[in-house]
């Protein structure tokens, strides 16, 4: 279980994360959504202890997480947004270094490396230096490295950023498999469809503050499950309805270009966060 208690991070006068308070349950697939600069990556950086909170605390299974908390850190693996690894190491070396930092035995490191590189289709490139890998390969290597140590908690900061559609779907399947094994997964993403497809609960973050936290379905129901889109000149306006008949009735009175559809998590995101940004 991950608990964020009153978590705050300031950089000078700028507050990147503002008194976040939430609990992510063991085995949960949790999404952290917000526009650019919302504080998602800062929160992940505090969870990986690269940044220390200005105020508040993080608890992992009840134990405070800090730079000295080796036992708590042993449970966590992070896939950062940037390719945070030695660029002059080969894939094999990256994996071995990770294993050594987690005190794994050499035989175990070798077995796990073979298994993971095979699983992600990277086996034939294992002697290639990281600098010479494509973006997608580096991303897969980050996944392999994170899974090397059998973590209980996986933190993913924009894991599919820059991936093509096929690689994205492969990554989704992989994450589903990991979640099925009981891993607690915390995902930050720009892709709202990704969060809707994968996450059991999501938190919407805006300018470092928690806007709301619930299941994607509950958030959609709160807004209204049915949406009617109307195109007027160069803008698109969506109206939401709880009742299908109300939506149909509205549609019949709307313009010819109007369409009815199911509401998505992206609609919730735009309505709750996007409107706020528009008011700035």
């Amino acid at each position: 279980m991950i608990e964020l208690r009153d978590l705050t991070k300031r950089f000078g006068d700028f507050t990147a994360v503002d008194h976040l308070d939430m609990t992510i349950n063991t085995g949960e697939f949790f999404g952290f959504l917000g526009p650019n600069g919302a504080g998602k990556t800062t929160t992940i950086s505090m969870l990986s202890t690269v940044l220390l909170p200005t105020e508040g605390q993080i608890f992992i299974d009840g134990s405070p997480l800090n730079r000295k908390a080796s036992e708590a850190k042993r449970k966590i693996s992070v896939i950062t947004q940037e390719f945070s690894m030695r660029q002059d190491m080969t894939m094999d070396e990256v994996m071995e270094y990770q294993g050594r930092l987690y005190y794994m035995k050499k035989k175990e490191i070798r077995q796990k490396t073979d298994e993971l590189l095979k699983f992600t289709g990277l086996e034939e490139y294992r002697h290639r230096v990281v600098r010479h890998l494509s973006g997608g390969m580096k991303r897969k290597l980050m996944v392999c490295r994170a899974l090397m140590t059998d973590p209980e908690i996986l933190l993913l900061d924009e894991p599919t950023a820059g991936m093509d559609a096929i690689s994205r779907r492969q990554m989704w399947n992989l994450l589903r498999q990991l979640h099925a094994r009981g891993l607690t997964i915390l995902l930050t993403t720009h892709y709202i469809d990704e969060a809707q497809s994968l996450c059991e609960r999501v938190a919407l973050i805006d300018r470092g503050k928690l806007d709301t936290i619930d299941t994607p379905q509950a958030l959609i129901e709160e807004l209204g499950e049915f949406a009617v889109d109307e195109t007027a000149e160069d803008s698109l306006r969506s109206t939401y309805f709880h009742d299908r008949n109300d939506a149909i009735a509205y549609l019949s009175g709307a313009g010819d270009d109007s369409v009815m559809r199911n509401t998505t998590l992206e609609d919730v995101f735009v309505e709750r966060i996007g409107r706020g940004l528009g008011k700035q």
């Binding site: 202890t49 036992e71 950062t80 690894m85 270094y97 930092l101 490295r145």
Partner: protein, 256 residues
Amino acid sequence: MSNGSEEDWVNNNMGILAVLWEKWREFLRDFYKITLAATVSPLMYLLVFGLGIQTTSHGEPYLNFLVPGIVAMSTMTGSFSAVAQNMSVQRLYEKALDQVMVSPTPLWQFILGQVIGGALRGMYAAGVILLITLPISSSLIFNGWSFLIMFLNGTVFATIALVLSFLAKSYSDAPRYTAYIIVPMSFLCNTFFSTDQMPMGFRQVIGALPLSQASDMIRRISAGGQPGILGFVVLLIYLVIFAGLSVAFIYRKKNL
């Protein structure tokens, strides 16, 4: 120590070995570059000041003064560059330090691994110079004490490099630190001429710097004398201060 407790000790300190392994791999990967970098500048100094400008110092061939100084200087530059360059790139450019921060390896072990690895790289650089100068300095004595001083000097400059790389704000700060700290020390700290020749006040300040002490001790041994305790004390004081700062930074710095 029983086998069980030996195993426990190894298991509890695996982080140091992990960092040393990482530095060893780096050494093997960049062997030729590291060796060339360790050789070129000292060799130039030896050629120009030692062989090109033939002179004497205190009635002895100048080379007898110069070689121990160059050896001490090589431990400084070798250790400093091994850590400063590597850590700055890892922290600011590659973000590879994140991998260490999130791992269960205690961060003091990471620091210790960096310091030992850096000092060994400094000793390697000095070893290269010793090999090269062997034919021209066979009368000089280098014994276990000399190597201990080289290692100690290397640990001091590895910790200084760690502190500076934690303070660095951009990747380009690493070469600046070399220009502002390492280059002046190379020329002023008892490498090419004795600090005795410096004006009062300045002499004491320069004499208290770690490279001056290391050069002086290695030079005394090379002439058949004793290194003296003061130099060890000075180097240990620097080591404790900068190692303490490195540990404080890695545990307490809010934004690494």
